[in-house]
Symmetry: C2
Subunit: 332 residues, 2 copies
């Protein structure tokens, strides 16, 4: 059975790291049909649309999508694409690797970020010359669906290594957003209780203090949308930057995979971007499509290269994207 | 002229660190009239009200208030108290001290957090069994007032040492909250431009990655309410925890000073809490009331003790609150 995977390079280093990830996928004994599509600043400039309807439809109909990055149009591209694949959870692992300089080398966490609502539901109004409002949305149904996913994730041992049966932490701000985050917190904890999964909680501000002080106390963290955005990016800072972080936007019958980093305009076009985050996103794609062993193979190859292979400039090396990719391919 | 200062110890270690800070204030050649008032879990249990009207009125009428911490009732106490003193900005310095273990010893930043609106304006509705909403509020007037304060702050050289004329960074999420954070961002940058103050900007998620990677690139950071809450707590994690961080809620003609930490129920009542954050809050109170020299004296004394004096358990020492306080008094 062949998997139809839509490939959207986007802008900047997306055009360099996505091809690297596709090369890795092509090297495996898995049958893919890759369909290229456009999104981002360049296509916006050319056509007036950052996300052409054709790309949206392709992503919606595919088995999975691999996306790179978009520049100024990032929000116009990624938010509708998450919707196209009907994604309700954004899975964001942040792991420090041996051999890579990290502010906190003990960091090994996975954020499960609600991916449809919160402030991202985005009903904004300009009520007067002075006043604007945004209506933040939280539903029990989305909160419970995220929590069910989190419970399965933990039960299946997909959390950080050595953390498989330790449950999860829900991070929220229910002491201020009592009704909305209160609902989120209550539903997530109720689902955990029903399923017999351990769950504890942290206020998101306290979590932001504690994570840098001692990341080893956390494993899987379940968050509302914006909290997940900011707290997972904080974790990225602790493991040495965005160059290493993959992510999965998982839906009911579809999913989209993307490196957490952006287009890196300062180095775009030079062939020196770090392809690690894109390749690890491809590993998540493999696992999502049922090729768990191949996903693990890719991860192992990447870890090997990170620990004693060539490295790009962001990690203090001088290697090119191609050299790092070749080193990963060598180890498969 | 005597300054009327309302003193609210609150709960837990608030009852230990606030008296320490008052002792320090009493040791200075400044004339204070201290008025004690109650707030927090204990008074809620006794009277049904976490913040008695009397306390609110006292804070509203005083020259300044020194607050400790409240337990479960924290939000019910601190949010109305900020309103009582008519505070529009929460000033939160986060500085690593020589001799204190810090994840990022180069950290020396000051957050200026909007203190009246954002999600804290808190219009929440339970629209159905499934759905709750929160209306986030952003006004041009509050954004501009914060920005004016930030410009003066920078112009007066009150930012981190060596950073006095470097302007400020505004952190926001205007790529998603286009109308609300868009308004905030636009007004803050416009005021900076009008006043000839340098201002740059970061998306708050990118900021959360970059701060741990390289705090030395930031000085004064201007944020919406919740962003300021979370990002300043992140900075607390980088300097070694909440035990060191003071804060000021500044209004037009009144202000409230509080350590950023909470009630620390695990060590409350043992006399071993770190009084540093409360004493540094007292230093901010001195400066606010015009006693800049005395404020600096207190800071210097605290820094001296942190570098080679007795230290409490949270900093790896074995000293009591009283011993640390006595060491600070010795150096005044
Ligand atoms: C580009 C932006 C809309 C997006 C988000 O906020 O979700 C990005 O920060 C991310 O986390 O993928
Ligand atoms: C207790 C809580 C309401 C408060 C806030 O969110 O402002 C606290 O976290 C703080 O930052 O002072």
């Amino acid at each position: 059975m062949s998997h139809e995977v839509v490939v959207i390079e986007g802008d900047g280093i997306g055009r360099e790291v996505v091809p690297a990830a596709v090369e890795v996928l092509e090297a495996l004994p898995v049958d893919f049909e890759f369909v290229k599509a456009e999104a981002g600043d360049a296509v916006q400039e050319a056509t007036g649309e950052a996300l052409p309807a054709e790309t949206y439809d392709l992503a919606a109909d595919a088995d999975a999508t691999l996306f790179g990055a978009a520049g100024e149009t990032a929000a116009d591209v990624i938010l509708p694409l998450r919707e196209a694949v009907d994604s309700f959870v954004n899975v964001r692992p942040a792991k420090a690797y041996p051999g890579v300089d990290a502010v906190r080398p003990e960091t090994d966490v996975v954020f499960l970020r609600e991916n449809t609502e919160g402030v991202y539901a985005g009903h904004e109004d300009r009520l007067s010359d002075d006043l604007s409002t945004l209506t933040r949305v939280v539903t029990s149904s989305a909160s419970r669906e995220l929590a069910e996913f989190a419970c399965e994730f933990v039960e299946d041992g997909r959390g950080p290594a050595g953390d498989s049966d330790e449950g999860f932490t829900v991070a929220h701000k229910a002491n201020v957003m009592r009704e909305t985050d209160g609902r989120f917190r209550e539903e997530v904890l109720a689902v955990a209780e029903e399923r017999g999964v351990d769950a504890d909680e942290e206020l998101m501000d306290a979590f932001a203090t504690k994570l840098p002080l001692d990341p080893s106390q956390y494993g899987v963290i379940v968050c509302p949308n914006l909290a997940g955005d900011v707290l997972s990016d904080l974790a990225a800072g602790l493991v040495g930057g965005l160059g290493l972080l993959p992510s999965a936007n998982v839906g009911h019958d579809n999913a989209l995979f993307e490196p957490v980093h952006g287009t890196a305009p300062d180095i775009a076009g030079e062939g020196i971007a770090n392809p690690t985050a894109a390749i690890l996103s491809a590993a998540m794609l493999l696992e999502y499509l049922g090729h768990v062993e191949e996903g693990q193979q890719v991860r192992d190859a990447v870890e090997g290269v990170l620990s004693d292979g060539p490295r790009t400039g962001d990690l203090g090396g001088g290697a090119t994207t191609d050299e790092v990719t070749a080193a990963v391919l060598d180890r498969l």
